[in-house]
Symmetry: C2
Subunit: 366 residues, 2 copies
């Protein structure tokens, strides 16, 4: 007799890689570079590290349940109140909290077909119906999504910029979409990659907070360089936040994430440098890919979706054998694509060199 | 129109205190001691701190999703396989994962009436029926719990030792309880306080892992001194663990918790010292409470439930005004009780001194 709930067995879990150290050992590699998880390749902010070091003797104490100081600082940053903010153990947890808080058993959720996988996985774990709408030219198709809204629709997840495509829906598309939405629909804008956007017609979901039924997700895992600590947050109207606080576990955000988050938020220099270098790296990668005649989807994030025109899983393995970890797109249903995170200039160069080697070998074999 | 799910509004959320720094500021106190959350008063293990310091430059990277190294070490510690272990962002998260994994919408959960509050809160958040059975002499009444099992019972949570009473169900009670349980019932033994047990007839739920339908919860938040980092784990049969892994979020355990956990697990000296000092502190507190003629529930944990014979919330406030934070038991329905964590010998002495002051004042006023 299987004691697990039936719907749990139908879920395809998220696949994560092995630790780099194990990969190195198994493949006998001295050095491995990771361009797979859209992390900040310049490390964490030094200010964050220093703040952690100063507070290490406190880790025997439970974290502040209300993240009093970090919320205060975030509130200042966004010109909102602490009561507009909910912190999570990464945005992943906030997605779970949002679904648990708002979606009744008979209600549904809409998102795109090719987007951050956790929307669908977490919806399924919570036994909620999720409708996925195909992209249009690798972009969220907001018109098509709007057409799928029905009386039972409660949540819409919009990853903007979208992971794994790096595309975004612009100001006009969003404004059009937000017009005449049913009152009971809540729109979640996941803006994990907002720091890297270089487009004039981008509109943050923040322009609708706190007035509309909108929740904006932000994270310290990408540009802020704190992926390892797990820290994301949601910004929304006070009443929504108060509902979500009922569902949030009291000690979900660890003490060092709170402390590091405070410092990282203030480290403007680090953030500016990160943005500058990532944009420069993107130009370099575009140029080299163009030279090689390889197609890619123009990105406003810190990663590029590349049309590799051959099996992405095989390509991933080949790159790995050279010590470069990128992400195949099998889980997203993009068989002939890979996603590469923009790294340091040195890492970007290694990626291009290895890419050339692999392509060159194929030519020789023909 | 309220957009929150109806059952969410019926939940009484867990109440956590303000940060100590804010309390100090508000009350104009120079020093505050916290004997409220059953933390390790001797700080975190120095080995854990050192391990963290060495790895701080990695926190821009996502944590290892599988906690490869920590699981390996825990498996060695318990003579099990890594596949028998699931890690959580504290045990709180594991309670959520267990309920989500195993309890169908029409099934129920049983626990005690006065026990760790999160069993009931998390069950309610997940919209599951939870049956709470009164304690008997401040102890889990396993006989009464067994009688409440019906065809729809899926999970039973047993906090052993029990928080907030400090009592335990012994070997014979457990053996009796475990006999002839229905096949579809899963018993969760929450052994957060196991390090402090000084009783010969205690039986860990581990004696039923991996054979029976048992899940044992352990934590690094108490004796191991890592409450701030959030790290708990569940030990169970491999098939149960594999189901729970489907529900667990891929990056739920932060990188520093994993690293610190590995080191703390090896720091036998720190653990032994902690146990020795807590047991000594307990003897001291018993002696002083006896002298004062104050009743308490004998405890095998690192806290004592005290029958203060007057309103616990008022008493909490009075103690706070002297800079001592203890826990009132209002949320547990024990109006005239307080729970005090055993602290360092200095803290225990301060607690007793303040207790005397308050009692003395009352006498003077009469």
């Amino acid at each position: 007799m299987s004691l697990v709930r039936k719907h749990i067995l139908r879920i395809t879990p998220y696949k994560a890689g092995k630790p780099i150290e194990e990969t190195k050992r198994e493949l006998g590699l001295k050095k491995v570079i990771k361009l797979a998880s859209n992390e900040n390749p310049f490390g964490p902010s030094l200010k964050a590290i220093k703040a952690i070091e100063k507070n290490l003797t406190q880790i025997n104490r439970y974290p502040d349940s209300h993240s009093f100081y970090l919320k205060k600082r975030l509130a200042g940053y966004y010109h909102l109140q602490p009561a507009n903010i909910i912190l999570g153990n990464g945005s992943d947890e906030l997605i779970d909290i949002i679904i648990k808080t708002f979606v009744e058993d008979d209600e549904n959720i809409i998102t795109a077909k090719i987007t951050f996988l956790e929307y669908e996985i977490i919806a399924q774990i919570n036994k909620k119906k999720i409708i996925t709408v195909p992209l249009r030219d690798f972009k969220y198709d907001l018109k098509a999504i709007k057409k799928r809204i029905n009386q039972k629709t409660k949540l819409i997840f919009i990853s903007n910029p979208n992971n794994p495509t790096g595309t975004y829906v612009n100001k006009y598309e969003i404004e059009d979409f937000m017009q005449d939405l049913p009152d009971k629909v809540i729109v979640v804008f996941d803006e994990a990659y907002d720091t890297f956007i270089d487009a004039d017609d981008f509109l943050s979901g923040m322009s609708y907070v706190p007035k509309r039924n909108v929740i904006v997700l932000k994270t310290f895992s990408k540009a802020y360089g704190l992926a390892g600590l797990r820290l994301g947050y949601a910004l929304t109207k006070e009443i929504f936040a108060s509902y979500m606080e009922r569902v949030r576990q009291p000690f979900n955000v660890n003490i060092l994430a709170q402390i590091a988050g405070e410092s990282a938020l203030e480290d403007d220099g680090f953030l500016a440098k990160t943005r500058r270098e990532i944009l420069e790296g993107k130009r370099y990668l575009y140029k080299e890919l163009n030279k090689l005649g390889i197609n890619y989807i123009p990105s406003v994030a810190n990663f590029i979706l590349i049309d590799i025109k051959r099996d992405g899983v095989e390509f991933f393995k080949k790159m790995l054998s050279y010590g470069v970890i990128i992400r195949d797109m099998q889980q997203y249903g993009l068989k002939n694509f890979i996603r590469v995170t923009i790294g340091t200039s040195k890492e970007n160069k290694i990626f291009i060199d290895v890419l050339k080697k692999i392509l060159h070998k194929r030519k020789e074999l023909r």
